[in-house]
């Protein structure tokens, strides 16, 4: 049995650690790319949301690398994600891929369904070991999130361009290398040390933007066209409303681990505008926007894949939040047609607007990243990334 799973940002680090600790043979699909997207788009329903198309592409690429079992998460609606695994499996079957499908989701009838699935993947390893494995996965997710948060801080302030990017790579490698829960604290320390080693100008004025929206587009750099890096290079400190470790803690551990970031406050805030949860992260999107406004952020960007249902509800409400609380909100919708240059233009315009609003006087007159931009686009076109 060779197990594969779809990409969602750095999630692979956490699941790889967990499964390998349990002695499962893991195949990690190549990072999502244009090719992945093309494969997925070709075979998925036209109006399905983008994560499904990328998932499908991931599975097809992993199959070429010898994977024969798919592990997916599921759900019980009303977001379409709850039915992803079944639709993807039907498509793969019709295409002739021989995949065994294991969906980890809240059981429909009895808890034994879920237990049976876990035992199948872990090949009947002891529950003690399984729990330790899950703990390792969580520790890794939380370590990755800490590294990313440091990167948000240092990216707009770095003295040598590109230093943060290199540091992130090195730090993540440390986290990937840890094989047991016991090694994790040391790995985390080493990773954070690398991140702290990035030389920064602490007094440089920066624009602060909160990123809200749908979890996949927020977490997966290919889907959001590396919005965090792009904004960072324009001199923007970002903060993302959803982190993987927080999601695991809230949804899988039911908030067992205290004193960690949680989506609870966002949900409570969101109720003022949206009277009921709408599935996905619709309510959190509204709530996080309110929280960012209260924390004095300069602006908020909402990210969603085209036709995402919960986020469309949130999108209809955000203009009202924006005008009530006086925080600029921009909505970016991504799909297989999105282009890099269009994204950069919009981000620049938005950042310029925030700069000129004058809420932060020391920012006035600074030219954020606009000058170096044409060269960067040219470079990216040369490298074939644009």
């Amino acid at each position: 049995m060779r197990v594969t799973y779809p990409h969602m940002g750095h999630m692979w680090i956490c699941i790889k650690g967990m499964l390998e600790y349990l002695g499962v043979d893991v195949v990690i699909p190549p990072p999502s790319s244009k090719k992945t997207m093309q494969l997925g788009v070709k075979h998925s329903p036209e109006f399905a949301c983008m994560p499904l198309k990328l998932n499908l592409g991931n599975f097809m690429e992993a199959s070429q690398m010898g994977a024969d079992t798919v592990v997916m998460a599921g759900g019980c609606g009303p977001c379409r994600f709850g039915y992803y695994a079944q639709v993807e499996h039907a498509i793969l079957n019709d295409l002739g891929y021989q995949y065994q499908l294991v969906v980890l989701e809240p059981p429909q009838k009895h808890i034994t369904e879920l237990i049976g699935k876990i035992r199948y993947i872990t090949q009947n390893r002891s529950w003690f070991k399984v729990i330790k494995g899950i703990r390792l996965g969580y520790l890794k997710a939380s370590a990755v999130d800490k590294v990313e948060q440091r990167a948000y801080y240092s990216r707009p302030r770095e003295l040598r361009p590109g230093a943060t990017e290199q540091a992130v790579k090195k730090a993540l490698a440390k986290i990937v290398a840890a094989r047991t829960p016991e090694e994790m604290p040391a790995a985390l320390d080493a990773a954070l040390e690398i991140m702290n080693g990035v030389a920064v100008d602490q007094h440089r004025p920066v624009v602060r933007i909160g990123l809200v929206g749908e979890i996949f587009t927020l977490l997966e750099p290919f889907a959001n066209m590396e919005i965090e890096r792009k904004l960072g290079n324009m001199g923007v400190e970002v903060d993302r409303s959803i982190h993987l470790s927080e999601w695991i803690n809230d949804h899988l551990f039911m908030g067992l681990i205290k004193n960690e970031r949680s989506s609870k406050p966002a949900q409570e805030k969101g109720l003022a505008y949206l009277g009921h949860t709408v599935g996905g992260h619709g309510l959190e999107t509204v709530g996080s926007t309110i929280l960012y406004a209260e924390q004095g952020f300069d602006g908020v960007i909402q990210l969603l894949p085209f036709t995402c249902m919960p986020e469309i509800v949130a999108q209809s409400i955000l203009p009202q939040v924006s005008s009530d609380l006086g925080i600029p909100v921009m909505t970016l919708i991504v799909d297989e047609q999105s282009g890099d240059a269009g994204m950069i233009t919009r981000l620049e315009a938005f950042v310029d607007l925030l700069t000129m609003r004058g809420d932060t006087p020391q920012l006035k007159g600074r030219n954020f990243g606009v000058k170096e931009c044409p060269q960067r686009i040219k470079k990216e076109i040369r490298e074939g990334t644009a």
Partner: protein, 293 residues
């Protein structure tokens, strides 16, 4: 007072006040709200969360009252009680009493009103199962046993709306076809068929659509199936795919997949329907000819 029938103007109004990405039915519903806005004292816009245990309608239904409240100005007060049967032990009576309290304090009156509406609904369901369409009664349904039978699968608010479906049902009938929809089947049949899916669908309306499609695919006397999806509808993108795969693998019945949006042209629709009907008739004649050999 209820809103008028859908017209171009009404849809246009809706389009202007909704985010571009919303699906056609939401835009249309906003248009209807705008139509009512200046004519009423209260707007009855319930939040239909769930009409069956462990099922939802769709995220946009869940958020619709809020979407309307935050995009349209000068609204009359909205009656947006939650209709929610998702959890075990939840009861629809809560909803009726909540709504009833807006009008009267007398619980007996609320119960009487509920009974009256329940009776009307039951009659409607019976009418539907005996082959007629909304706002028709059993006697009017014209069953032509010699014609062809076409199943139309789609959200009720799309296929029964004469404007956005461009009179599809009437057109089919005029050209001699008998039209069947999910509502012509008893609830139990539809649910049973839908259980053939690998996992229970958590969208009630789409579960009905898939169940009905599966049922009609396996029925001898149905000659063709038309799947009507609206642009931007999330659940449709999945169930349409599942239905299509069923048509391809498990059946030899022709299926036409139509997507409607605010730009759909009438001529394009008519051409496709005519071509589809011709094809269905032609196949049927072939089958008849083969049977007599």
């Amino acid at each position: 007072m209820i809103s008028q029938k859908t017209t171009r103007g009404l849809l246009d109004k809706g389009l202007k006040s909704t985010v571009d990405e919303a699906c056609l039915p939401v835009k249309l519903a906003v248009g209807h709200v705008l139509d009512l806005r200046d004519r009423v004292d209260y707007l009855f816009l319930p939040r239909i969360v769930s009409t069956a245990r462990k099922e939802y309608i769709c995220p946009k239904f869940l958020g619709f009252p809020d979407m309307v409240r935050h995009t349209i100005n000068n609204l009359p007060p909205i009656i947006d009680c939650n209709f929610n049967l998702y959890h075990k032990g939840s009861s629809s009576a809560d909803f009726y009493f909540q709504v009833g309290k807006f009008f009267t304090r007398n619980p007996a009156k609320i119960i009487m009103a509920y009974n009256a509406s329940k009776a009307a609904l039951d009659k409607h369901n019976l009418d539907m199962q005996s082959d007629c369409l909304p706002q028709e009664h059993a006697a009017e349904g014209s069953a032509d046993s010699n014609g062809i039978n076409i199943a139309v699968i789609g959200h009720p608010y799309v296929i029964y709306d004469n404007y956005i479906s461009m009179n599809m049902i009437k057109r089919l009938r005029d050209s001699g076809a008998r039209v069947l929809t999910a509502d012509h089947l008893p609830e139990s049949v539809v649910r049973e068929e839908a259980y053939r899916l690998p996992k229970k669908l958590f969208w009630t309306i789409n579960q009905r659509m898939v169940g009905a499609a599966y049922h009609y695919f396996s029925r001898e006397d149905v000659h063709g199936i038309i799947h009507v999806a609206s642009f931007g509808c999330g659940p449709d993108s999945f169930t349409g795919e599942l239905t299509e795969r069923c048509a391809r693998n498990g059946s030899n019945k022709p299926m036409l997949s139509l997507t409607v949006d605010e730009h759909t042209g009438e001529a394009g629709m008519v051409t496709r329907l005519e071509a589809f009907l011709d094809m269905v008739r032609w196949r049927r004649n072939m089958a008849d000819a083969a049977a007599t050999l």
